[in-house]
């Protein structure tokens, strides 16, 4: 007589829910959070219709701030992957620095004070990334201002402050 074997009980794998203590635990002191920011100070003086970058605040000088969030290692890898391409003629990898700068600004520029007097320069984010319209506002700044902001930003991202 055929014996019907009982079905073996399927062992349910425990869902990978983080432990309560892990969920409650605050990030360690080395971890980047949304509050891990640095500020780029921009001091401008108007001369003959052009804005000049000054070294510090003073009389007749407009002072502005741009606040960036620090990038994590994983974010750096992702952005560099997007900005890097392989040059088949030179047989080497090349980094598109302009593209990388754009990615950095769109991902990490949290706020600035240029929108105080001009709401058109207000920065908007969707899903944590600056909108293309806001990027347009950034590139419409005088080139010496935007270049200065990018240089100061890269001093932190690439040269450790």
């Amino acid at each position: 007589m055929a014996v019907v074997q009982a079905k073996p009980e399927l062992v349910q794998a425990a869902p990978q829910v983080p432990r309560v203590d892990e969920r409650l635990m605050k990030p360690g002191k080395y971890e980047i959070t949304k509050d891990t920011t640095f500020t780029v100070d921009i001091h401008l003086r108007l001369k003959e219709g052009r804005w000049l970058i000054m070294t510090g605040p003073g009389k007749g000088i407009d002072s502005h701030k741009a606040v960036f969030r620090m990038w994590t290692y994983d974010e750096m890898v992702e952005l560099k992957k997007m900005a890097m391409s392989y040059d088949v003629n030179k047989r080497m990898h090349t980094m598109d620095q302009d593209a990388l700068n754009r990615f950095k600004v769109q991902r990490f520029l949290m706020s600035w004070t240029f929108d105080k007097d001009n709401p058109r320069l207000k920065i908007h984010h969707v899903g944590g990334i600056m909108t293309d319209e806001s990027w347009k506002a950034f590139v419409e700044l005088q080139p010496n201002i935007s270049t200065y902001i990018l240089d100061e930003m890269n001093k932190v991202y690439e040269f450790n402050g």
């Binding site: 990030p27 360690g28 971890e31 509050d35 290692y73 890898v77 402050g161």
Partner: protein, 241 residues
């Protein structure tokens, strides 16, 4: 004691006592609540990596390689995604560090995804500094390669009698080759041999090498030179075939 000499000695000691680990120390400074590398920093953070083995490199290279068309699609070249390569090094080879994020690994030795999530959230420049230090332990510099070229040309030339001040590659090749051939001592056992015994064995191997060279050079030439008073053996250089 000279602090540079001590640093070198400590590094070498770590290499001998922990041949499967690479310790990378980075000077850091806290700035704006961020821990960033700083050559003049007073604090030091340390990361311990496992030595990159042939197997690690093979697995990681396979995972990050892709093909690029060359010559309008006539052929392809294999290209490595370098950023991804480094990321996999972190997942595979970072063992521990002084940062307050514990490193957890699965049964296969890879970093757990949850753990990597936290590890990868440290400031990018700090991880880059650790990885740069790790890369230094693997890289063969241009100067080293030039030295290897020069010394191996002398070593393997027909009239070569060895090289003075051998570089690491030549020294490894000769020492490990000889010790394995003569005494069956491999790369892992050699550092544990008492130094006096090592010296004695090395002296004897040198003596043996000298005597073999003498034997080779003292062979009388079979070429005869004809002269006015008969013929004599050639005094020319005999080149071993």
């Amino acid at each position: 004691m000279n602090s540079t000499a001590e640093k070198v000695a400590r590094k070498e000691w770590e290499r001998v006592t922990e041949p499967d680990k690479v310790r990378v120390k980075v000077k850091v400074t806290w700035w704006n609540g961020m821990c960033l590398p700083d050559e003049e920093g007073k604090d030091i953070e340390e990361a311990v990596f496992s030595v990159l083995t042939f197997g690690d490199n093979h697995v990681i290279e396979k995972a990050v390689a892709y093909e690029e068309d060359v010559g309008n699609g006539r052929t392809t070249v294999k290209v490595l995604e370098l950023n991804e390569y480094k990321r996999l090094i972190v997942k595979k080879n970072l063992l521990s560090w002084t940062l307050d994020i514990p490193i957890e690994r699965d049964e296969q030795g890879w970093m757990r995804p949850k753990c990597y999530e936290r590890v990868s959230s440290i400031p990018a420049p700090l991880m880059e500094a650790f990885l740069d230090g790790y890369e230094e332990s693997i890289a063969i510099t241009d100067a080293e390669e030039r030295k290897i070229d020069r010394q191996s040309a002398i070593l393997f030339s027909p009239s070569g009698h060895g090289v003075v001040d051998a570089c690491e590659a030549v020294s490894l090749f000769c020492t490990l080759g000889n010790f394995w051939e003569k005494f069956g001592l491999d790369k892992n056992k050699l550092p544990t041999v008492p130094y006096r015994e090592y010296l004695l064995m090395k002296i004897m191997m040198g003596k043996e090498g000298d005597s073999m060279r003498v034997k080779t050079h003292s062979k009388a030439s079979t070429t005869m030179i004809a002269g006015a008073h008969g013929s004599r053996p050639s005094r020319g250089i005999s080149i071993p075939m």
